[in-house]
């Protein structure tokens, strides 16, 4: 307690500098926690299943760029042969509601459960002849929408009639009947992808290769599982890399802390020397510098974490290309961040203080 009181007294004496030092740590903590929250939500998203094929844009990480029409689809299906049992077109659109961009998907109502693997959690499926819409639980959680609420999409007011559960990258999305979306967006019968159901005795790989050949590179043909993994992995990889980057940034705080402490101690060599003259051990002084640094980094972490909480509260969803994710920050992530930050700064401060304390007390006192 004595040590902590001395540290606090010391930090108070140089209030402005203490605040600046703590504030310098906050941005990197903020970036790290936001990215961890995004990566965490991607890791949580369940993946879909089945051996269905999906025809999408040649860039599967951004399906909104695909543009299929019925004529093209029929040609591709013909190339696939009799093994293709059915094809379910899907309209895929990022839509802005308020300040947030959501992923809107539209498929024929009859295909929501069998093809798209949606499951009704609350309410009833929308009436295709009315301005009605469904939201996934991911969206319901973050946007706070419930059955009975109304939302405006493309200047039209829709009633939310259902909350559904959706797998994989569909986890946080809005759902509409295909024809209603076609009319709303005036797509002229075009759509972004199609999910193909195959007959049980067909060879899916042969069909996939045949359709891919017919698409001539304009479209990609993937297994539904594969595309879920691809999209999820693409986003996760990008996100994980970012998290790694900021984690390294936090580790680099050790060097920052080393320099900060080294400079602070160099400026106050005489104070160190006086403490040594009073009989304060090198170990105690090192501990003092380390605790001082840890308090500063903790202050920076609190500022960064608070900023993260405010940011996530005001931006419940994050759009990564065409995908909308719902960042979630759990206490484990925060605790890990605290541990990494504290360790990094402690190591840096300890090294700097131990080195500074190696000088003979006489030299330190005379440094005044």
């Amino acid at each position: 307690m004595t040590l902590l009181r001395l540290v606090l007294a010391d930090l108070r004496a140089g209030r402005f500098r203490s605040i600046v030092a703590a504030a310098a740590i906050a941005p990197i903590v903020f970036a790290h926690l936001v990215l961890v929250a995004v990566a965490g939500s991607l890791a949580e998203a369940p993946t879909g299943g089945g051996r269905a094929l999906v025809i999408v844009s040649s860039n599967p990480l951004d399906p909104s760029t695909g543009r299929l029409d019925q004529v093209t689809l029929d040609r591709l299906l013909a190339a696939g042969g009799p093994g293709v049992e059915s094809a379910a077109p899907l309209i895929f659109r990022p839509v802005k509601i308020g300040d947030t961009i959501f992923q809107l998907r539209a498929a024929r109502l009859s295909e929501w459960e069998g093809v798209e693997s949606l499951r009704l959690l609350d309410g009833r499926y929308p009436d295709p002849n009315a301005d009605e819409i469904a939201v996934t639980e991911g969206v319901a959680d973050t946007a706070g929408w419930r059955v009975g609420d109304t939302i405006e999409v493309f200047s039209t007011t829709f009633d939310v009639t259902a909350v559904v559960r959706a797998p994989g990258t569909k986890f946080a999305s809005l759902w509409m009947d295909f024809d209603r979306a076609d009319a709303l967006f005036e797509t002229g019968g075009t759509f972004q992808s199609a999910t193909l159901q195959l007959t049980p005795d067909s060879d899916p790989e042969a069909i996939r290769l045949a359709i891919a050949a017919a698409a001539e590179g304009r479209f990609g043909v993937y297994y539904e599982d594969e595309i879920n993994q691809l999209q999820g992995a693409g986003l996760s990889a990008a996100s994980d890399l970012s998290v790694l980057g900021t984690a390294i940034g936090i580790a680099v705080l050790a060097f920052g802390s080393f320099n900060l402490t080294a400079v602070a101690l160099a400026e106050r060599s005489s104070d160190l020397g006086i403490a040594r003259v009073l009989g304060v051990s090198r170990r105690a002084l090192t501990l003092f510098a380390s605790v001082r640094s840890a308090v500063l980094s903790l202050g920076g972490f609190v500022i960064g974490a608070t900023a993260t909480a405010v940011y996530l509260a005001t931006r419940p969803t994050v759009t990564l290309r065409s995908f909308v994710v719902t960042p979630r920050l759990d206490w484990g992530d925060v605790a890990l961040g605290v541990a990494v930050t504290a360790t990094a700064t402690l190591v840096g401060a300890w090294l700097a203080a131990w080195r500074a304390g190696a000088r003979p007390p006489r030299e330190l006192v005379e440094a005044r």
């Binding site: 009181r5 007294a9 403490a275 009073l278 009989g279 105690a284 003979p360």
Partner: protein
């Protein structure tokens, strides 16, 4: 036979600056009995402060022995010297050497905490009482920059005696304060010696302080000899 509290035999210390050698101490002997007040006078650069540093365990001799309060200072580890300073010594410096970020009270309390007085509140209470004894009760919450030179030196003395040391080493304690404050500081040191029997080794270039000492020695060119008033 009672052992001397300070026993320095044949202490040699040489500093090297590039190719130059500065012989700060050339075989110095100094024996002090407990409760004695010894004044070491002499010109700047004569080796006075170096002698004080060796006795205080702030530096090591190149040759010779330094024993203080039964501790072989020259041969002790740095950790042992930390403990030695905590238990046996108090220091008073020319430039006061108070810690600027701490109040007068906390400067004194730090010395007490280093000596093992815990919790911090107890150390602070004792520091307050000590400062009040030295007439600084009203200045306890001020930082050094808010105190006069004389007040700062009195705080430094409070800090030096806080741990009830056997020996106080004072390096030019009046070198940076005015005449009135000098009288006050010396009276305070005299009083400490009378009341507590503290051994005092004071180095100064001011020979007029000789009246406060049991013995006056002179350090010139690294050699210590009895002072002969001129």
């Amino acid at each position: 036979m009672v052992s001397p509290i300070v026993d320095v035999r044949g202490a040699v210390k040489t500093f090297r600056k590039g190719a130059n050698e500065i012989h700060a101490l050339r075989g110095v002997d100094l024996v002090m009995e407990a409760g004695e007040v010894v004044l070491v006078v002499g010109p700047s650069g004569g080796g006075k402060s170096t002698l004080l540093n060796l006795i205080g365990g702030l530096d090591r001799p190149d040759a010779g022995n330094v024993q203080v309060a039964g501790v072989d200072v020259a041969a002790s580890s740095q950790r042992s010297l930390d403990a030695f300073r905590r238990r046996h010594l108090g220091f008073v410096f020319q430039f006061f050497n108070l810690i600027g970020s701490l109040t007068a009270r906390d400067n004194v309390a730090l010395a007490l905490a280093a000596r093992g007085v815990h919790p911090w509140a107890t150390a602070r209470d004792r520091a307050s009482a000590l400062l009040a004894d030295l007439g600084l009760g009203a200045r306890a919450e001020h930082r050094p920059s808010e105190l006069s030179g004389g007040e700062q030196q009195r705080v430094a003395i409070a800090r030096a005696i806080a741990g009830e040391p056997d020996v106080i080493l004072a390096d030019e304690p009046t070198g940076n304060i005015d005449t009135a404050a000098t009288a006050g500081v010396m009276a305070m040191l005299d009083d400490l010696n009378d009341r507590l029997g503290v051994t005092l080794l004071v180095v100064t270039h001011d020979a007029s302080l000789a009246a406060h000492a049991d013995r006056v020695l002179e350090m010139v060119d690294g050699r210590l000899s009895p002072h002969v008033p001129r």
